[in-house]
């Protein structure tokens, strides 16, 4: 129960619902879910709850598109261009994150908020709530084959933005620790 609730809370926060409305939206979704399950008890609870949240979001039914911007950005920034002798190899340094660093909840949300809403929605449903693609299709009307490229781009952008959160952590560290933790890229 708590795990399902946590997914619903993360979804409304990630989608930028006003803080004042978040609790009400999640509670209404729970009440809808309870009613729906009374009528058809076999439906998975998490999918039912998140479906009820999604129906309340303005972005519902509007997934798709908006991958081009990040794809272009990633291609230009991350890898050597086709006319380079190292074409297709990394153009930037990608150090390991220190083993003792983990992203906090606020940092996860900061990274999510930089994504287009459709990507946030897909990332939370597929990777945070771990819903199968067919359940997500029922909620947002995007077939699994169409979810895959959108999810890839959403993940790539999310990892990039979370790395920027990591870099900000490094900047806040005292200089001696900063060098130990590989912030000098």
């Amino acid at each position: 129960m708590t795990a399902h609730h946590g997914c619903a809370v993360l979804l409304v926060e990630a989608m930028g619902v006003d803080a004042a409305d978040q609790s009400r939206m999640v509670e209404d979704a729970w009440l809808d879910t309870a009613s729906a399950l009374a009528a058809s008890p076999g439906r998975p609870l998490r999918a039912s709850l998140l479906g009820a949240v999604v129906r309340r979001l303005p972005v519902a039914g509007n997934l798709g598109g908006d991958t081009a911007e990040f794809e272009e950005l990633a291609a230009g920034r991350f890898f050597c261009p086709p006319d380079d002798r190292w074409a297709g190899w990394w153009n930037i340094s990608v150090p390991l994150w220190p083993a003792d660093w983990s992203a906090g909840r606020d940092q996860v949300l900061n990274a999510l908020w930089r994504l287009p809403k459709s990507q946030r929605l897909l990332l939370v449903l597929r990777d945070a709530a771990r819903l199968p693609a067919n359940e997500v299709t029922e909620m947002v009307g995007l077939v699994p084959e169409a979810q895959a490229p959108l999810l890839d781009v959403a993940r790539q952008a999310y990892v990039q933005y979370l790395d920027e959160e990591f870099q900000a952590d490094i900047e806040r560290m005292p200089t001696d620790r900063r060098q130990e933790d590989g912030g000098g890229r």
Partner: protein
């Protein structure tokens, strides 16, 4: 596909499928051999795994007791139970169905 035949850009594009365990056995071997030879790709795949782990961790939020109580009250109210012998606002005793752990003692 072989490890040496994969550019980092291709590995980058395959990282999601690798995370989801959707690569064929051959592709997975080539992918993982590339990681052994390529520290940046190893670092990137580790970032993806940890970033998505942090996303799942972010769902750890306590469910407010008031909400649980409201759901239980609603579930056991006469208007939802279909019973009409008790008056409005009276709670029907019984085992909670929607909230899995049963009513608080």
């Amino acid at each position: 596909m072989s490890a040496l035949g994969l550019s980092c850009e291709v590995v980058f594009d395959l990282t999601g499928a690798w995370y989801d365990d959707e690569l064929s056995e051959n592709d997975q071997n080539a992918f993982e051999q590339h990681l052994l030879l390529c520290p940046p790709c190893l670092a990137y795949s580790d970032r993806l795994r940890r970033a998505l782990g942090a996303l799942a961790e972010a769902t750890t939020v306590a469910m407010p007791a008031e909400l649980v109580e409201r759901l239980v009250l609603r579930e056991h109210s006469p208007s939802h139970s279909g019973l009409d012998e008790s008056g409005p606002g009276q709670r029907r005793q019984g085992k909670m169905r929607i909230i899995g752990n049963g009513p608080r003692q």
